[in-house]
């Protein structure tokens, strides 16, 4: 009889150590990624209780959130950031954990580094004290973000407690139109299902649109699962997954790789796999998408107007009015043409090679509008190096973008890259919450890197499909 379990349940069962007295599962964790923000208090708990890191070989650390992307000389100008940096250095040293730090050459945003190094593999349980850990689900793993108490638990036991979520299959079928990217697909899904539609679920993304995506595009989709309320999102491993991983530093070689690849492919949900729920969308309905509000579900196709408060569902009015007021946008107006002050290409959603290549293709031969400050922040040192070998930094710099060092940068306000006052930022990141980009009154419009590139040049939100020179 065929195994009708979906991938999520197969992988969960494989890691189920036991049922705790309160009925939750003690789940074994295959890979624990850590960074400087959510780990210091966890190491402190270990010290207090005189505990060791249970599996240092399955624990890898990097630094990303607080890292300055312009001047990285130590000590950092921000004393608090310097303190956090020293803390992770000391903790990793003392507890025997590998740290990919600024001097290492492999440093970067934790969700870029894991896949890049081949640490992230199908069939694993992966956790990190960061909600965008869902990114790693692109490889067919169970990848979830955890809090600091959980980080301490995983450090000390390589396990954590969880209740098994339900699994919703989110199917997208058909070809994406020119100018429509993976980012638009996930923004559309969140717009349809809402910011809490995924609470209690893991999302399995499937369908011909997802099948056709590269691994980097799949990471963009899985990355924002949490923005739809789903703690975890994943895509079944296929030949693309295997080929992406072949030859990466942490992946086995030779016969062992062949055995690994064969096993990975067996994990995929079969045609008759069972799900708790299913939704189906058409790629043809997806436009280049832009958020206009203060939650990632508050978005519209770029050719569409902003909502009218009167037309909204009851109960939504307060949220929508609050968002429009904060954003300083008028109901019913087109989103296209909204002036921007800052353009940010980066973050764990969109800072990989394919993102930078596409953005560079669009800006080539153009100039950033005078009123716009534009920056490109590669997701890792290796992405940065590769981009420079391809000459992308020259394309960006010639257009007037600043070319930075790897880190989280302007995705959140923990390093020197911040919005000022009421600035409006066209951003390839994942969150448009109030204050997210560092100014309590700063405003964020989320969109694909290509759309950010076009907005930087036009000085306002533009439709990539009409953008001169884009040739999409």
């Amino acid at each position: 009889m065929s195994d009708r379990r979906n991938l999520f349940n197969k992988v969960w069962d494989l890691h189920d150590v036991r049922t705790l007295p309160n009925d939750q599962t003690q789940l074994f964790i295959g890979l624990h990624l850590i960074h400087e923000v959510t780990s210091p208090q966890a190491f402190e708990i270990l010290r207090d209780r005189n505990l060791k890191v249970a599996c240092p070989n399955q624990t890898v650390a990097t630094v990303d959130h607080i890292v300055p992307t312009a001047d990285q000389s130590r000590p950092f100008q921000d004393g608090l950031a310097e303190k956090m940096m020293s803390a992770i250095e000391r903790n990793c040293d003392e507890f025997g954990v590998t740290l990919l730090d600024l001097k290492d050459g492999r440093q970067g945003i934790v969700h870029v580094v894991g896949p890049e190094q081949g640490l992230t593999q199908p069939g694993m349980t992966i956790v990190c004290g960061d909600s965008h850990t869902s990114t790693h689900g692109a490889f067919g793993s169970i990848a979830i973000g955890i809090g600091t108490s959980n980080v301490a638990q995983v450090l000390a036991t390589q396990t954590m407690f969880l209740s098994r979520p339900k699994v919703r299959r989110v199917v997208v079928n058909g070809d994406l139109a020119p100018g429509v990217y993976a980012k638009d697909v996930i923004l559309y899904i969140i717009q349809q299902l809402g910011v809490q539609g995924g609470v209690g679920y893991a999302y399995e993304y499937a369908g011909t649109t997802i099948d056709a995506m590269s691994m980097e595009e799949r990471m963009t989709v899985c990355n924002m699962s949490i923005e739809g309320g789903a703690r975890c999102g994943y895509i079944n491993p296929d030949e693309k997954t295997v080929e992406y991983l072949r030859g990466r530093p942490s992946v086995p070689t030779g016969d062992e790789f062949e055995r690994a690849a064969a096993w990975w492919l067996t994990l995929a949900s079969g045609d008759d796999a069972e799900f708790d729920d299913e939704v189906v969308y058409n790629a043809a309905d997806i436009e280049p998408t832009v958020t206009w509000g203060i939650t990632p579900a508050q978005s519209v196709g770029v050719s569409q107007p902003l909502p009218n408060v009167a037309d909204c569902d009851a109960g939504e009015e307060t949220l929508i009015s609050e968002a429009l007021e904060f954003m300083g946008l008028a109901e019913g107006e087109p989103v296209k043409g909204t002036p921007i002050d800052v353009a940010f290409i980066g973050s764990c959603t969109n800072s990989r090679m394919s993102d930078l290549r596409e953005a560079a293709r669009i800006v080539a031969g153009h100039k950033v509008a005078d009123s716009v400050k534009a920056i490109v922040v590669p997701g890792s040192q290796l992405v940065r190096e590769q981009a420079m070998q391809e000459g992308l930094h020259e394309v960006f710099e010639a257009a007037g973008f600043e070319w930075r060092e790897a880190g989280c940068s302007m995705c959140l306000a923990m390093n020197p890259d911040k919005l000022q006052g009421r600035e409006v930022c066209a951003s390839s990141s994942n969150r448009n919450f109030k204050g997210r980009q560092g100014s309590p009154t700063g405003r964020t419009l989320l969109m694909s890197p290509a759309m950010v590139a076009a907005a930087a040049i036009e000085g306002r939100v533009a439709d990539i499909r009409e953008f001169a020179g884009a040739a999409v």
């Binding site: 494989l14 890691h15 150590v17 007295p21 309160n22 009925d23 003690q26 959510t38 210091p40 208090q41 249970a54 399955q58 959130h65 921000d78 608090l80 950031a81 956090m84 803390a87 069939g123 694993m124 004290g129 960061d130 909600s131 850990t133 973000g145 955890i146 809090g147 600091t148 108490s149 959980n150 638990q153 000390a156 036991t157 396990t159 954590m160 407690f161 209740s163 910011v195 809490q196 609470v199 209690g200 949490i226 309320g229 086995p252 055995r259 690994a260 096993w263 939650t295 307060t318 949220l319 609050e322 959140l412 306000a413 923990m414 969150r431 109030k434 204050g435 997210r436 560092g438 309590p440």
Partner: protein, 198 residues
């Protein structure tokens, strides 16, 4: 460590907004720290500065223990700094229409009682607390009710989380550690830790 939490009582503070994300509960700049000390002072910092009438600015609510909130409370980042800042501000229980999952899990780890209630009941509770900030709110995890004056509303909590608080077994670390032998055996069954031949 046994620390049973069967009920939480104290005065309330209403915040009936939806989709309150963790960046609003504790803005990222306050995450530049290596301990959670002092986070209580910065709960809702930016919202408070922009809105003088924010409940967390009102002196009448300053000693509150029970937060009454809307839908999808605590969405966004996994930062435990968010429930830590609320807890250090004085909150011991949150009654909301619904919670984001990571935030809920973090509350469980910290022994903060996070329970849900229907919107219309929450609106009544919020109104009662707004009208009288000295009103005592009692969240009872055994009966699954929240009482305030004449009002008694039903609340819900997943049985696993409720069980943990009532029995005092929300020190998960201790429980997880007690299975270290089972974990060692489990490692031998995980294909990717055994050359993919397990």
């Amino acid at each position: 460590m046994t620390n049973t939490i069967k009920s939480v009582s104290g005065t309330g503070i209403p915040l009936m907004l939806d989709d309150i994300d963790t960046d609003r509960i504790i803005p990222a700049r306050y995450l530049r720290c290596v301990t959670f000390d002092g986070l209580g002072d910065h709960a809702f910092e930016d919202d408070r500065q922009q809105d003088p009438r924010h409940p967390f600015n009102a002196s009448k609510f300053s000693g509150a223990t029970v937060l009454v909130a809307g839908r999808n409370f605590g969405c966004g980042s996994s930062r435990e700094h968010a429930p830590q800042s609320l807890m250090r501000w004085g909150i011991k229980a949150v009654i909301a229409e619904s919670f984001a999952e990571i935030f809920f899990g973090n509350c469980c780890s910290l022994g903060v009682a996070a329970v849900t209630a229907p919107r219309d009941e929450l609106d009544k509770l919020a109104a009662a607390v707004e009208a009288d900030a000295t009103l005592e709110v009692v969240v009872c995890l055994e009966n699954l009710t929240a009482k305030a004056g004449d009002l008694c509303i039903p609340v819900k909590m997943p049985s696993s989380a409720r069980e943990a608080l009532i029995t005092g077994e929300w020190d998960y670390l201790g429980q997880l550690l007690s299975a270290s032998c089972a974990v060692k055996e489990h490692v031998l069954t995980v294909p990717y830790l055994n050359g993919f031949s397990a």
